[in-house]
């Protein structure tokens, strides 16, 4: 390792911590927008779908409907919040031009990407913890494979934090940062087995569902809790790890080329 690389290591770590601290402070400063809405939405889901409708639905894959949807609802919250944090924070910095504070600094691109990614993970996990606590008020959350639960939630959070960054890099206005969450992310999440097992679907719809990456994340996470899954869990992890590598490389390349940031 060259002297320059060694001498930049400590300052780079300070820079990395600074981005994470700034993201954490941002999440807490606007807690009314970041932490409260997912808690209210999750409560409504548990009351309406889990409790009122769920009683009529009966068991699903051997568990009460409430137990079945709880992991899916937690994962849905983690995904949307990890994505939402990075896309809004990074695009906000671009729009307000304060992204230039980072671009003119000596921080390497990979640490800028990792810093924003950590912000996404932080919000995803914070909100996920809030929703898990709400779920505990409605049902017993039983964990069969803790390691799978942790690794599935972390990898999913990383995937969507990085995807949010790609969206923010390309976005030119606020419409473009709400387009993907509204028209792509939400439908894929609802159709990704959060509320049902895909075995209930007709054959063609089941095959179609296998093209939805969120199905693999929800299924792996649910497998960690309940030990049941709609897909092969190994395949889920392969897909998540591949997505992380592809998206992380894309973000670094986009920052290096200055796409959407430098003329």
């Amino acid at each position: 390792m060259s002297t320059t690389k060694i001498s930049r290591l400590a300052p780079n770590l300070v820079g990395f911590q600074t981005i994470i601290r700034r993201e954490y402070n941002r999440i807490m400063r606007i807690w009314g927008q970041t932490l409260v809405p997912p808690a209210i939405t999750a409560t409504l889901y548990f009351v309406i779908f889990g409790n009122l409708i769920g009683r009529r639905v009966g068991d699903m894959s051997g568990y009460t409907y409430m137990q079945y949807i709880a992991p899916g609802l937690i994962m849905m919250t983690v995904i949307t919040n990890s994505y939402g944090n990075v896309v809004s924070s990074f695009f906000g910095a671009k729009f307000g031009k304060h992204i230039e504070e980072l671009l003119v600094s000596p921080m390497p691109n990979y640490l800028i990407v990792m810093g924003y990614m950590m912000g996404g993970i932080l919000r995803g996990l914070l909100v996920g913890a809030v929703v898990s606590a709400i779920a505990l008020a409605f049902t017993h959350l039983h964990v069969v494979h803790p390691f799978i639960v942790i690794s599935a939630v972390l990898l999913s959070s990383i995937v969507f934090a990085l995807a949010g960054m790609v969206n923010a890099i390309f976005a030119k206005n606020f419409d473009q940062i709400s387009f993907i969450p509204t028209f792509i992310l939400t439908p894929l999440t609802y159709l990704g087995g959060v509320f049902y097992t895909i075995t209930l679907l007709p054959e063609f719809a089941q095959r179609l569902s296998h093209a939805n990456p969120i199905l693999y994340m929800v299924s792996a996470f649910r497998f960690g809790f309940l030990g049941v899954s709609d897909v092969d869990v190994k395949l889920s992890f392969i897909i998540m790890i591949t997505a992380v590598v592809a998206l992380f490389s894309s973000c670094i390349w986009l920052l290096y080329k200055g796409v959407g940031l430098r003329e």
């Binding site: 930049r8 911590q17 600074t18 031009k97 003119v104 000596p106 430098r262 003329e263």
Partner: protein
């Protein structure tokens, strides 16, 4: 050592506009350097490339011998930038903005706190340390950007129109402070539309027009190129017509004011002798325009005419 060296720097934007057409420029360490030019001349593009906010199309940039193509982090660590437009988070407090910036440059938090206090005091912003940025006045925002650029104590400070929109009192105190920073050894590159500012502060100057450097000289040498100066004379008593002189153009601005053109070779004594002989008493005299301003306008105009003829 050269603080900044640009060699054959070119930039062509996607829309085909050639903002820089092969710029060569050297700024020596410790210099106070003015980079002047009309709007759209390419100043901000050149600075943007040095700061890696704009991708260059060709050429080389070295900052204290660090090539930005191969040692970008080392080059960036040497520079502090005060940009033309306000570019901090308006929802954060003054202290948070500064601590974040210090962190991005890898400064430990206790060091950042000490420097923040030192520079906020120097630029009279200490009382505003907990104020949210959007509540600051225009002058305070400019000063905050200067503090932010200085926190990591850069060897090269680039000020892109730092006093735009700032009242004269604040502007003068900012000049004093920037002079102190330069005297302490920091190289300074200044772009400004206030040419009086450049003439007063800078030792060397480059004029950029239509993407090319059209002049790069010591300030004194450049000012000596000014052939004709116009002086304004305030008279004690009113007069109806301007006295006529063969060698000088004298015009009557109003009944108490004369404008006299005097070339570099001519003596001003002749003018006074002629006016005295005609019973005109002069109370005071001043330059009609700042000397650099006259020269700048002349050079830019000549450059534009040359380009028009070439087309």
């Amino acid at each position: 050592m050269k603080a900044l060296s640009l060699k054959g720097l070119t930039k062509t934007y996607k829309n085909g506009v050639q903002a820089l057409k092969g710029i060569d420029l050297d700024v020596e360490e410790g210099d106070f350097f003015a980079l002047l030019g009309p709007n759209g001349a390419g100043k901000t593009t050149a600075i943007g490339i040095v700061m890696s906010l704009v991708n260059k199309s060709g050429g080389k940039v070295h900052v204290f011998d660090h090539d930005i193509d191969t040692e970008l982090a080392a080059a960036k660590a040497c520079i502090g930038l005060v940009p033309q437009e306000v570019n901090f988070n308006m929802f954060e407090t003054v202290s948070t903005i500064l601590l974040n910036q210090a962190g991005f440059y890898g400064m430990p938090r206790h060091v950042a706190h000490d420097r923040l206090e030192k520079y906020l005091h120097k630029l009279q912003l200490w009382e505003k340390r907990n104020a949210v940025a959007r509540g600051l006045s225009g002058g305070m925002k400019r000063r905050l950007m200067i503090v932010r650029a200085l926190l990591h104590e850069p060897r090269l400070l680039i000020l892109d129109e730092p006093t735009a929109g700032v009242d004269i009192e604040v502007r003068r105190s900012m000049w004093e402070f920037i002079r102190e920073v330069n005297a302490a050894g920091t190289t300074i590159i200044l772009t400004t539309h206030y040419l009086e500012e450049a003439e007063t502060l800078c030792r060397n100057v480059a004029i950029i027009n239509q993407g090319r450097i059209i002049e790069n000289e010591r300030m004194g040498t450049l000012l000596r190129k000014l052939n004709v100066e116009t002086f304004i004379l305030n008279l004690r008593n009113p007069i109806v017509t301007a006295p006529v002189m063969i060698d000088h153009k004298i015009t009557l601005a109003d009944d108490h004011t004369l404008e006299v053109e005097i070339s570099r070779e001519q003596s001003i004594n002749n003018v006074f002798a002629h006016l005295t002989a005609n019973g005109v008493e002069v109370m005071s005299m001043r330059n009609k325009a700042n000397r650099l301003e006259e020269l700048f306008l002349d050079m830019v105009e000549r450059g534009n005419n040359t380009n028009k003829q070439a087309v």
